[in-house]
Symmetry: C2
Subunit: 404 residues, 2 copies
């Protein structure tokens, strides 16, 4: 484990796929001892997700580095006993099953706090633990659709267009880690354990900085809707066709004169037809065409960006993944970083998003094979006799697969 803030804390991790593992990955990166409990025979289903090399999933490795793997068949009472013993020695217990599942396994908050009143228990779900939508399946896009966020993405009049990235799951994991950190702080200051109910729906809703309040205050007169690659409320703010990239250009009121100068049309600065955002929005097709015409005459995306940057106009090329992983700033700062794996070799993954001055950034860690740490945990941590462990293995309750 890296030398870091959470040294000395133990996290019992019954999460799988993405939202939960994102939360515990952050804690592993901060030095917690994370014990990931998986089920025989496949373990976390992401052990089978692409990209795969030598039988190892880079998806799994990215999310589960720095965690120990214990593989237990929780249908067996003897496995539940192991879990109870682990709850007694852990600081955090986190799970992201469908609501109700953890209770049916015998590990509701009431039962968990009975075992360890100081533990922080965190459940992550799509819609929260209660309420009429809580039973719906917990996929990112399902929560995104209900949150109103999906409806705010895509061309006007056409279908919504969802991001090909697990934004909802990952940021919900960040919200969960945030809540856990503050709950641990509370405990450290004399408080006790508590239960945290974190959901994708809450986290997605959190991202509506404008839409909910604007609809509400205007009594529905403002009904925000998607407007594709140009913003419905600011002009110019959108994507233009460069030579090889789409170019994002943003001009709030302060930047409009800069845009005019950059495109060689200083006359527009004082043109009353375009002087306010409201007026530009009314003539947005004209404004967009004027800017696009200028882009069409330029030699390269570099020269387009340089002209805009010289006038302090916010602008950016929309990068592809191949460009992202070759961008000097991104590599220099470890925003994307190489990790080492015995089967995958060197793989690029996103860096640790939190940077602390007192601790090294992007520390090296291993990814455990399924059940690799069974013995370390049961014998070394819980003090079980070798005979008892042998029996659990023979009964198929304790499982390992050193291939995945």
């Amino acid at each position: 484990m890296p030398k870091h803030i959470l040294n000395g804390y133990r996290v019992l991790d019954m999460t799988h796929v993405l939202a939960g593992p994102s939360a515990t990955r952050l804690m592993a990166e901060m030095g917690a001892e994370v014990l990931k409990v998986e089920f025989p025979t496949a373990g976390d289903i992401t052990r089978a997700l692409p990209a795969i090399k030598g039988g190892r999933s880079a998806y799994f490795a990215q999310q589960n580095r720095g965690k120990k793997s214990v593989c237990l068949d929780l249908k067996a009472d003897s496995a539940k006993e192991v879990l109870r013993d682990l709850i007694k020695i852990s600081d955090v217990f986190i799970e992201n099953f469908a609501p109700g599942v953890i209770s049916r396994l015998g590990f509701s908050w009431e039962e968990v706090r009975e075992l360890n009143p100081e533990i922080i228990m965190c459940s992550i779900s799509a819609f929260g633990q209660e309420g009429e939508l809580s039973a719906l399946p917990g996929f990112d896009y399902i929560a995104q659709a209900y949150s109103g966020i999906m409806g705010m993405i895509g061309e006007a009049g056409g279908p919504p267009s969802f991001p090909m990235a697990g934004i909802g799951d990952v940021m919900t994991g960040a919200h969960a880690a945030c809540a856990i950190g503050f709950a641990l702080l509370h405990r450290e200051r004399g408080g006790h354990g508590q239960y945290l109910d974190i959901s994708l729906l809450d986290s997605y809703m959190h991202c509506h900085e404008m839409n909910i309040q604007a609809y509400s205050v205007s009594n529905g007169e403002i009904e925000p809707t998607r407007s594709g690659h140009h913003h419905y409320a600011v002009c110019p703010l959108g994507l233009f066709k460069g030579k090889t990239h789409y170019i994002c250009i943003i001009a709030l009121q302060n930047q409009w004169p800069g845009v005019c100068r950059a495109i060689g049309r200083p006359d527009l600065i004082t043109d009353s037809v375009y002087e306010t955002n409201e007026k530009r929005l009314e003539k947005s097709e004209e404004v967009i065409a004027i800017i696009q015409d200028w882009l069409d005459l330029q030699e390269s995306d570099e020269s387009i960006l340089a002209s805009l940057e010289a006038e302090r106009v916010p602008c950016a090329p929309v990068l592809s993944i191949s460009e992202v992983v070759n961008t000097k700033h991104i590599l220099d700062r470890g925003v994307v970083r190489p990790i080492q794996d015995p089967k995958l070799g060197e793989v690029l993954v996103p860096g640790m998003p939190l940077r602390f001055s007192e601790f090294e950034h992007n520390q090296p860690m291993n990814t455990s094979f399924l059940g690799e740490d069974n013995k370390y945990v049961l014998e070394g941590m819980l003090g079980y006799e070798p005979q008892r462990i042998k029996k659990l293995i023979e009964e198929g309750v304790l499982f390992e697969n050193p291939e995945t």
Copy 2:
């Protein structure tokens, strides 16, 4: 302040607009005393952002409830002295100016830690405090474009389509609050202050669960790209046209038989042409058409969803904002909540995304007018003489505007 985890902690907040204020809003909701420092004469520019009613911005109110407002002209040495005094009595100091600005004001981490070695200082920026892109303007979409996330949204072959919501800013705020919580925990356990460098680029990159590693492991053979409203790697996973909504339908391997039954085509379950995700992807146009044809024959979106849910197929209507704010589950749970404001009246805003069993959820709080708490802070908290405060007001260093 609400009775909550951060009671007793003071946060000196020099953030504006969205990412920083999101972080400090979370801390205000958790009971911290947040002192928001603004500049004359307008204060945080979001005090002028829509929706506006009675001169008050609901945008500002949503983000800044529960914070005290101190309005200081930091060009004056006497204002810098106030800020130095506030740093000495605060636990957290947070800012989101462009990199370099806070140092030029005389409040670099080196200077701040000199004043208070126990303080947690957090800077939020688009690209981080150092590196060749760090000087770029800090707008959400600019970081989104460079992170590769924007390029993963939109129809294949067409322009990207950015979300009409401040996802990047808000979730970066959540990342920042997370880092601050753990840094406070570290201090509570015997550590000291430190500096946190949080960025939109790091937070956006964090959301690539698949794209970076898949590109890297496959040596570029897999180059993830946007694919609109149907996923490029899973079939069926996408948006279909219902009667009044787009309907999101997701079928991983386990759900494919359920889809076949729901659409009245149990024969497809054993049809070898469609038996694996790979095969379905190859014939994705056919698969999508079969499902769409079924939707076209249904009577209502409710019946479509009921048929799919009966087979446990993950599905959801893509809700509009007007539907979101009228969804029972969302209101019942306070995922969206009403807040009260003397000028705005009752406004709906997103709920507090973190739910703690030991503290009341969605507690009421006020939003301060610009400089409303000048006297409380300078006289009550710093113990300045009335004469000194009067002088600061006369010099225009201390400012207030009870209208915004």
